[in-house]
Amino acid sequence: MSLNARYITDYTRSEIVSDAGLLRTMHEDRKSVFIDTLQWPLTAQGSLEIDEFDHADAVYLAGKDYTGVHRASIRLLDTEGRHMLADLFPYLCEGEIPRGPDIKEVTRYTPSPRAKASERLIWRNMMARAVIEYGLLTGIRAYTAVCDISFLSQLLSVGWRCDPLGLPQSIDGSAIGAFIFYVEEDSLSKFKQSWRYPRTAYSVTPKELQHAA
């Protein structure tokens, strides 16, 4: 299982749309995780989960295996535009909703159920590292996230600075809360041992090569 050559990179909506294999498998994995397993009240489009926030301004951080199949992804939304905390869950935020060019909302963290658990853990760690690396490289100061409380322990266990934006609420039988976590120079050094990935996880290069080809 060589993961050495793997990386996570950023895609605009139009870029990910032009990578048909990644696009399809990502939306399939999202259906499998959020609708089939977690049973969130989302609507499937056939075998895919796609919603109104998969719009032209969405950015994805995604990793794929050597055959081009989705392995892990998140979706980043502009907090100055339409995003979930402002449009769907404003009541989860007690004060003003954090917005700005340097704050992005993280949604739909999707580890691929196609991968074995041991491999998913590696991708999880790559993704956590990539989120910070991407933030440091592109001037993001913080990420907001609407988070199912069942995921909170994991979110906190990474080691990064993470604060609640309001008290959690019960919605459709599950508890959901809004959180903000910060991108700081020392974020990666604060990562707990079990979350560490020993190499750079985020890379822009492969996409540039792809464009040049």
Binding site: M1, E94, K116, A117, S118, L121, I149, S150, F151, L152, S153, Q154, L156, S157, G159, R161, D163, P164, G166, L167, P168, Q169, S174, A175, G177, K192, Q193, S194
Partner: protein
């Protein structure tokens, strides 16, 4: 002050703590503030290293802080209640806080479980709210907030307790991570070895595992014998349990 700012100041103070006694005092005060009487922050592991003076946290052995009545803590550890406490069993089944009145929705309550709750009540532990902290790759744990027997849970404060419990566990984890010396070494297993253990846990024989993984049966035996040796156990089932307990594989992996 709003409940959120109470939580935020708890988080801000707890974040930098290195001394377990400080976290204990902080938790004790916010526990009362929320309308509970006692708390127990713990990993669901063998609690025998627990010491009143918190040496087990100073050395990074395990997370365990509580202001339960002393005789109950002693009894809890001496009788090894951690292995059949229905609250902890239920806590492995969810990652969201639950009150103890909902226990029967999470696990089948058998006679020993009911007896255990009754013993707790006699010792002064009434109703409770448990915030699980189950993170893949780590020992399971929870933060429990309880009221004395005969008192009602502070229902309005449960969402606050959910946040405080999650952050408290993280603070406990930070303290022991920081303190951890080479005293506790997790057993090292290779990825191949873990694959074999998963398949053992799914009931496969060595021959079946060798077919599935495309390796020789003797290699499978070697991997498994080596893992058993590393855990100092003789039976395969013990090895599987240890590997789950260690966090080498999530239990969900065995149920596929």
């Amino acid at each position: 002050m709003s409940r959120l700012s109470d939580v935020q100041s708890f988080i801000d103070i707890s974040r930098g703590l290195r001394n377990p006694a400080d976290l204990e005092a902080l938790l004790q005060s916010i526990t009362r503030e929320m309308g509970f009487d006692h708390f127990a922050l713990m990993q669901h592991v063998d609690l025998t290293p627990f010491q009143k003076e918190l040496g087990h946290m100073v050395t990074g052995q395990l997370i365990g802080l509580s202001d339960y009545p002393e005789h109950w803590i002693d009894q809890y550890i001496d009788d090894n209640i951690v292995t059949y406490d229905p609250v902890l069993l239920a806590s492995q089944r969810t990652n969201v806080g639950f009150s103890w009145s909902q226990l029967d929705q999470l696990i089948e309550m058998k006679r020993p479980h009911l007896e255990q709750l009754e013993r707790g009540r006699k010792a002064g532990i009434g109703d409770g709210f448990t915030v699980p902290s189950n993170v893949p790759g780590e020992a399971n744990g929870s933060c429990n907030f309880v009221v004395r027997s005969g008192r009602e849970l502070p229902r309005k404060e449960l969402m606050m307790a959910q946040l405080v419990g999650s952050y408290a566990f993280e603070a406990g984890r930070s303290i022991i991570t920081h303190a951890k010396t080479s005293l506790v070494q997790k057993v090292q297993l290779s990825p191949r070895q873990i694959e074999c253990i998963v398949l053992v846990g799914r009931g496969k024989t060595d021959w079946e595992i060798s077919r599935i993984l495309g390796i020789a049966e003797s290699t499978v035996k070697d991997y498994i014998n080596d893992a058993k040796a590393r855990y100092n156990v003789v039976k395969r089932v013990q090895m599987v349990i240890r590997a789950v307990y260690d966090g080498h594989l999530p239990i969900s992996e065995l149920l596929r």
